[in-house]
């Protein structure tokens, strides 16, 4: 069964609901790591609403909590306190099955490409589609080839990752993240392993494809040349949002 379209909505409280809720709404989010004496707070009272279709960049030194925030909204960690609504699903106290379901509506791009080395570029992209069930798989070859061609890999469709350059691999990873038409893309320093030029090129491609599909993108990066492409830049420090520029 394809559960990717299901929405489990919590009853709203008194506050007036917007007509179309933003894809990401965070209120009073706190997060801790460790247990007992070693318990350490990583996030302090985060409030954040991200509008649809924007490219939002999350900045901050390492340990500032931006990756923690990304994994919480990305349904990769359990929300401990506060509220995080992702695509109208409350993640606080959400069961694992809802988290898995939400993840299918997201696209992840990691620092390392994390491609499966035994699968060709096409097959890696296919994995981003297969998770949506057999209906989504009907046109998988066309969809995957189209995306890879858009990303400039039209002549390398059946290459194994071992035979692709770093930039090419990262572009395959982008295709894998985009092929399922995600509502939100989470990217964690997608250019870290790339040289400046191909890093810029990869993000420019990502932005163009995201804009065409009205996809929201939340990206962690240190790369200054990428900052100019952002719609909004959020800076974090010691688990708090300290700057929010549009």
């Amino acid at each position: 069964m394809d559960g990717s379209q299901t929405t489990l909505e919590r009853p709203k409280q008194a506050q007036p609901a917007p007509h179309v809720e933003s894809p990401i709404v965070i209120e009073g989010l706190n997060h801790w790591f460790g247990e007992g004496d070693a318990k350490k707070q990583a996030l302090y009272d985060i409030n954040l609403t991200i509008a649809r279709g924007q490219l939002v960049i999350l900045m901050g030194a390492s340990g500032s909590g931006k990756t923690t925030l990304l994994t919480l909204i990305g349904c990769l960690r359990q929300v401990q306190e506060g509220s995080a609504r992702l695509l109208r699903n409350e993640l606080f106290e959400a069961p694992e099955s809802l988290l898995v379901e939400c993840r299918r509506r997201l696209g992840f791009i990691f620092q390392a490409h994390n491609l499966h080395e035994s699968l060709t570029a096409m097959q890696n992209v296919r994995m981003g589609l297969e998770v949506h069930g057999t209906d989504a798989m009907r046109q998988w070859k066309e969809a995957a080839a189209h995306l890879l061609t858009l990303l400039g890999l039209g002549d390398r469709l059946n290459y194994l990752p071992g035979n692709l350059s770093g930039g090419q691999k990262q572009r395959v990873a982008i295709a894998r993240a985009l092929v399922g038409n995600p509502d939100i893309i989470f990217a964690d320093e997608p250019t870290a392993a790339l040289d400046k030029d191909s890093g810029y090129e990869v993000v420019a491609l990502l932005k163009r494809l995201a804009a065409a599909r009205n996809t929201t993108t939340l990206m962690v990066t240190h790369d200054n040349r990428i900052l100019e492409m952002a719609d909004r830049i959020i800076t974090m420090e010691d688990g708090r949002i300290v700057k929010d520029e549009v």
């Binding site: 994994t71 990769l76 390392a112 499966h116």
Partner: protein, 392 residues
Amino acid sequence: MTALLSRLFGRLPIGWLQLIHNRARFAAALAGVAFANILIFMQLGFLGGLIESIRLPYAQMNADILIQASDANTLADGSPLPRQRLYQALAVPGVAGATAVYYKRLDWKQPDGTVRNLDVFGIDPSAVAFKSDEINRTRPQLQLLDRAILDRRTRNVPKELFAAIDAGEPYEFEANSLRRLTVIGTFEIGGGFSADGHLIVSDQTFFRIFKDSVPGAPNYIFVTLKPGADRQSVLAALRGALPASDTAVRTIAEAVAKDQAFQTTQKPVGIVFGFGVVIGVLVGIIIVYQVLSTDVADHIREYATFKAIGYNQSFFLGVVFEEALILAIFGFIPGMIAALGIYAAVVNVTGLPVYMPLERPFYVLIGTIFMCTLSGAIATRRLARANPADLF
């Protein structure tokens, strides 16, 4: 293959692609499974050979019911019976005939000084104790003293010897310091795990070879039933007529079952082969577990990525079991082919009835799949380490 598996699973056969990506490891894994399979097949082959070699002499007996001493587990180990039991058996209604058979082990010295062990049956030459036409054709000539019929499947004896006997050229050998025997014909039973072959002589010849055996103390009584007689009621009548203290009355099938059960569970050989099967299974489980758990560990990042994409636990279990199944089937095929070759070699060298019954590959394949699946199940515990939050 990939397309076929894609259709079969309704998804990309990740397990298959992972396995063939590292061909050296795949080959090593298949060799490991094949090796475990060969081990299992060999042990089962020997065990089957033992069981079959036990059955063969019984199968030649022209008898419905076998009377042995109550302490007999096999054909070789019982005490002699009082000959009186023969007459008592003949008096039971439904019994068509009964004949006393004597048994001893004989060392047959070869020209090169080595010894073949023969199981010797002493029979009444006027009674049909064995079914074989070859035996019954030659049997009248056993009336003459010191004549014998020899098992031509006796282990490690040149084939030419039997060919010459069958061509009408009697073969003489010294049975022991007392008698020289003349072999006037051959028959076929084949050696087992204790004796190399069989020899049939008349009871009179038997007493001359074995001075300590006497006509009054046969080892078995072969009983045949009248046509239409009810086996169970005759069996019950015989058990009632003969004292259970020294006599056991069994159908041939019961006697075979008792002998096989005794030799496979009470004698070291049988236990060793059963143990060997267990070792083979353990070796297989360990090899497959090693391969699968290394494979899971090697792909933990990819699995974590797939988890982040939204695949759930059942997907990963599917991949590991897919690999287990592929290893089981692809390892089984060379394992079975090699086992068939080794069986043929064992038959050639030992003459033991080591054959591949049709159902054995089926059972071993099922067992191999079970073994690989079990290893896969243990290996999946490592999947828990695939945490997508660690990817950032």
